[in-house]
């Protein structure tokens, strides 16, 4: 049995990932998280008399705090195994990746541990996020002039 044939062979004995089920859970939970954020957005405007834009920033901060605290309490990763990608794709996932890395490397100290490793997972998002902001900004200037 050559390598190609072996890869075909093992497919028969490997359970197929439940793509539809996982996507549906992610869609529903992700949607619920979006609705919750929208509710917060309205409430912050009402309670603190903030303009929509500032209220949005505080909504993001709220989600980051919730995700980080749940990560520190060891709850977030359990939720992810049940709720699939619904919590990983939004800003909650970004906060989770940073907090979990900080927790992991605290035993190696503040500089060589947390400092050097905190963006281990989030670094990719930050780097390519910044690069795409530049590219799309440039495109925007070229196409619609600013």
């Amino acid at each position: 049995m050559n390598n190609k044939e072996y890869q075909k062979f093992i497919e028969t004995y490997t359970p197929k990932p439940k793509v539809f089920e996982n996507a549906l859970v992610s869609f529903l939970v992700g949607g619920a998280l979006g609705s919750f954020s929208e509710l917060l957005l309205q409430l912050y405007q009402l309670w603190f008399h903030l303009p929509r834009k500032e209220s949005g920033v505080i909504v993001i901060l709220t989600l980051i705090v919730i995700a980080s605290v749940l990560t520190a309490l060891g709850i977030f990763d359990v939720l992810v195994t049940k709720l699939k990608s619904a919590l990983i794709i939004p800003i909650t996932g970004f906060a989770h990746s940073i907090t979990s890395a900080a927790l992991e490397y605290r035993t190696e100290g503040l500089v060589l541990g947390i400092g050097a490793n905190i963006f281990k997972l989030a670094g990719t998002v930050i780097l390519y996020g910044v690069v795409s902001v530049y590219l799309f900004g440039l495109l925007r200037i070229i196409i619609i002039g600013g």
């Binding site: 072996y6 062979f9 093992i10 004995y13 359970p15 992810v80 997972l121």
Partner: protein, 332 residues
């Protein structure tokens, strides 16, 4: 390459396990379990892993009544970079030390080296140890422990535990009869969440060569036991052996990864993995059954994926290895 031994006996063994293993079906067979958390009173998972290993050696010395200075050789390996757990354990003992690495097949590599030393009369006795720790392994090979990602059903769960065994040239009621050194085999599998598929061909090759070299049928053994293929890998091995070697091992074959946990009830996906997986099952459950003469001839085949995260990121497929060791009850 199959080696036969005339004069290598198992004197005693010790097993220490963590909370997930203590909640599994083999609980009563372990010498000691830590059920509070995975730190065992230490400040980091790496220190906890070293503690497990030291515990298993201390307990073994206590059980055997051998003194530290009576031991001729200590062989140990683990999953940490630079096999750190074994190195830092070894500095605590006044025993000549060999550090080894064969991933989850480390225990069998150690048994083969020790048996060869003893049978060739270079040493009288030797301790072989191994350890793995769920969260320190996650940190070493995967993402931060608290980072949650949806995992496929084929992924395995690293066993937390340490196991040590004392081999001697003095006669006891279980002996190491022969061993087959595995070849490193890579069938092009690149999925780190499907280690069973990565390692099954290596196990199949070793089992086939062992049976051929020793001129035996699979039913010569009461049990053939692989290390950590998990429930899907186990099925792959059975069917792969039928298809490629025309050998049916289904009636007397099992896998330690599916024995150590209750895969239906515990959150371990396809089963246990890690060097301690096979070592814990073999040195507790299997040796007990052999002492009770319920099993008389057992072929243990710990399996290891020799993968490096760096090589994996460089798009390499995953090599695997398996060594077979034949254990026999000595008939008086």
């Amino acid at each position: 390459m199959t080696i036969t031994y005339k004069n290598v006996y198992i004197n005693n063994a010790s097993t220490i396990a963590g909370i997930y293993e203590a909640n599994g079906p083999l609980k009563e067979y372990f010498d000691k379990t830590y059920t509070k958390d995975l730190y065992f009173g230490e400040t980091s998972w790496e220190h906890a892993e070293i503690k497990l290993l030291k515990d298993s050696i201390d307990l073994l010395l206590k059980k055997t009544k051998f003194k530290e200075t009576d031991i001729n050789l200590l062989i140990s390996g683990d999953l940490q970079n630079q096999i750190a757990s074994s190195d830092y354990m070894a500095r605590e003992y006044n025993i000549p030390f060999l550090g080894i690495y064969n991933a989850c097949a480390t225990s069998s590599e150690g048994l083969i080296i020790a048996s060869t030393f003893i049978d060739s009369k270079k040493v009288n006795n030797c301790i072989v140890s191994t350890v793995s720790h769920n969260t320190s392994a996650e940190k070493q090979y995967r993402n931060p422990v608290e980072y949650g990602t949806p995992k496929p059903e084929t992924a395995t769960f690293t066993v937390t535990g340490a196991a040590s065994i004392l081999l001697t040239n003095e006669k006891t009621n279980i002996r190491i009869e022969s061993a087959t050194i595995g070849k490193t085999i890579d069938k092009g599998t690149k999925d780190v969440n499907h280690m069973g598929a990565v390692m099954a061909p290596a196990a199949a090759d070793t089992i086939y060569r062992h049976l051929t070299d020793m001129n035996r049928n699979p039913d010569y053994y009461d049990l053939i036991l692989t290390g950590d293929l998990g429930k899907y890998g186990k099925n792959i091995l059975i069917n792969y052996m039928k298809e490629v070697y025309n050998l049916d091992i289904s009636s007397n074959y099992d896998d330690c990864g599916t024995i150590i946990y209750d895969t239906d009830k515990q959150p371990v996906l396809a089963g246990g993995s890690g060097p301690a997986c096979s070592a814990l099952v073999n040195y507790s459950y299997i040796l007990t059954k052999m002492h009770e003469k319920k099993l008389k001839k057992v072929l243990i085949v710990p399996t290891g994926a020799l993968f490096s995260p760096t090589m994996y990121f460089q798009k390499e497929s995953l090599p695997a290895i398996a060594h077979a060791v034949s254990l026999e009850v000595v008939e008086k």
